[in-house]
């Protein structure tokens, strides 16, 4: 029964990883920016929710504020960090270093302001009940799966039906052609950053309710999102989501066989293997690099 318990726990973590990974993949696919500060959106959203919740504000306010701060952070990064760097033709490493710097600043500011170590939002959603003999589930499990499913459905409909969604997909395929058709690639990049960062907020809120946050959580989330994007295949949101889900499940199920400290390393062994033997990922096209 331990295995089933771990599997269910992994599904929940995986659903949340899938959301953040999908946000990262959306940004990377559309704008080709390796948004290494994506984890900072997650941290900011989670901590803002915790602050409002622990001060007795209603949950919907916290969720809205979390989404707003994540979106705002993503848009600000694009507007004030990535755009100026790309204007003077900075290479990808310039972008990476700048984003890394921002994520260090956010992590340490949050640590100084909110204290280091884990904080949890105490909520009735995370109270577990025994559903099967020796298998415990909290309502937050179903909430996480439902939120992830609804958001993926909505994102899929937006990207295929709405003109702006179609334009986003076009941007990821050929940004020159977008401009030839008279669309602003800058506006679309901002949209990609807003959407991708907003996807991190629900995941952050649900993480804050279940396991809690610490100031370094963004780091871990970022590495997982990056790994999932590459394993899933760059340019494929479906691949990133699926890889995020599997990484979450794998990280949890591995506990059945090994000590917890190997869980994170296991994800990176998978990532390393994919980069060596199949850099295009599960669903990606061959990359010309």
């Amino acid at each position: 029964m331990l295995f089933l318990q771990l599997l269910l726990g992994g599904l929940q973590t995986g659903a949340l990883y899938a959301l953040t990974a999908c946000g990262f993949a959306l940004i990377f696919g559309a704008t080709k920016v390796f948004h290494f500060a994506h984890g900072a959106s997650f941290t900011l959203a989670g901590y803002l929710f915790l602050l409002l919740w622990n001060n007795g504000h209603p949950a919907w306010l916290g969720v809205l504020a979390a989404i707003a701060v994540a979106t705002g952070f993503g848009v600000a990064m694009e507007r004030f960090v990535y755009r100026p760097i790309q204007r003077h033709e900075g290479g990808f490493f310039t972008v990476f270093v700048a984003a890394f710097g921002v994520s260090l600043v956010v992590q340490n500011l949050v640590g100084m302001w909110a204290g280091r170590g884990f904080v949890v939002a105490d909520s009735s959603l995370s109270r577990a009940t025994e559903v099967l003999p020796e298998v415990f589930l909290a309502p937050v499990f179903w909430v996480s799966l439902a939120v992830a499913a609804v958001l993926f459905l909505a994102l899929g409909i937006f990207l295929t039906r709405h003109p702006a969604g179609v334009a986003l997909r076009a941007l990821s395929q050929n940004s020159d052609l977008i401009r030839a058709y008279g669309l602003s690639s800058h506006r679309l990049s901002l949209l990609a950053f807003a959407l991708g960062s907003a996807l991190a907020a629900p995941a952050a809120v649900l993480t804050a309710i279940t396991t809690g946050m610490n100031e370094a959580v963004g780091h871990h989330v970022m590495l997982i999102s990056m790994a999932a994007t590459i394993v899933g295949g760059v340019g494929s949101l479906k691949g990133a989501a699926l890889a995020g889900l599997s990484l979450g499940v794998a990280e949890s199920v591995v506990l059945n066989f090994a000590d917890p400290q190997w869980a994170e390393a296991a994800s990176f062994v998978v990532l390393f293997g994919f980069i060596l033997f199949r850099p295009s990922g599960l669903f990606g096209h061959a990359v010309a690099r």
């Binding site: 310039t94 990476f96 340490n108 590459i230 062994v269 980069i275 990359v287 690099r289």
Partner: protein, 290 residues
């Protein structure tokens, strides 16, 4: 006070070696490794074990450390030959995370979190030598080697690969060999720095070889200026004196010094990338594609 300054100077020399060798990979060959602390660690453990188990000879320790780190640099060279850009950064991040776990768990070789303690003072031919002299000599030799390499044909080949890989290949350059060699040199240098670090501190544990350390070394190279000879050294001195300087400021509580330091160098990295991507000593014209 002299002991304090000597300690700071030794650390500056050690991190100068780390930054200078990472610069060979990042600045000259365009291989953006975020796993330099892994090879620093390998060298430190190799040097420490040799000093503990066999003989505390500094030269031998450095040679063995360089061999171990240079040999295992294949772990980094393989992805460098397969993929470029973001993919390679991701691969090196993966390597760094795996190595941190291995360093923590392989307790027989590394002592885990407790680390290796009581590493004897360094000797050369049975005479005890100060680590400051050793570190400075090694730093000068490595800077000299970098300078010679950058001027010679190998340096030109590396820069050609960095700027236009296909063009370099079309001119008949053996890209794979050049990249592997650059990585091996950088990692062996990090190994030497590791051995010096172990002998100097006479204690090593995994906390010195984490992702944070890799990022710190990378920040030194970036802040000073990639692809320049003196830039990484300047970056190392600046970033190392930062915590020392901060501890003299009365309004920062001692518990927050680490955080303030990280905020400062994070902000410095971001602002430099926006306004001066080639680093403090870098050439603005060549820095744009870094």
């Amino acid at each position: 006070m002299t002991a304090y300054l000597a300690n700071l100077a030794t650390l500056a020399a050690i991190f100068g070696i780390l930054a200078a060798t990472l610069n060979v990979a990042v600045g000259y060959a365009g291989i953006f490794s975020v796993a330099h602390a892994v090879f620093f660690g390998l060298g430190a453990y190799a040097g420490a074990q040799l000093a503990l188990l066999v003989v505390p000879d500094a030269l031998l320790a450095m040679v063995v450390a360089a061999l171990v780190a240079g040999g295992l640099s294949l772990c980094l060279a393989l992805p460098a030959l397969r993929v470029r850009g973001e993919y390679f950064v991701a691969a090196s991040l993966g390597l760094q995370m795996m190595a941190t776990t291995l360093f923590t768990e392989a307790k027989g070789l590394t002592g885990g979190m407790g680390g290796l303690v009581g590493i004897p003072r360094p000797m050369i031919l049975g005479v005890e030598v100060p680590t400051l002299a050793l570190a400075l000599t090694a730093l000068v030799l490595i800077l000299l080697a970098t300078w010679l390499m950058a001027r010679g044909s190998f340096g030109r080949t590396l820069r050609a690969i960095r700027d236009a890989e296909s063009a370099a290949e079309a001119l008949g350059k053996n890209i794979n060999a050049a990249k592997a060699l650059a990585v091996a040199f950088a990692c062996a240098g990090a190994g030497v720095a590791g051995a010096l670090f172990a002998l100097h501190m006479s204690f090593v544990n995994v906390e010195s070889f984490t992702l944070d350390q890799s990022v710190l070394i990378m920040a030194m190279v970036i802040v000073g200026g990639t692809g320049t000879l003196w830039g990484p050294l300047l970056g190392a001195v600046l970033l190392l004196s930062l915590p020392a300087g901060l501890s003299f400021l009365p309004f920062i509580p001692p518990t927050e010094i680490g955080a303030v330091q990280q905020i400062l160098y994070g902000a410095a990295m971001t602002l430099l990338m926006i306004f001066r991507p080639a680093g403090l000593l870098g050439d603005m014209r060549t820095g744009r594609k870094a």
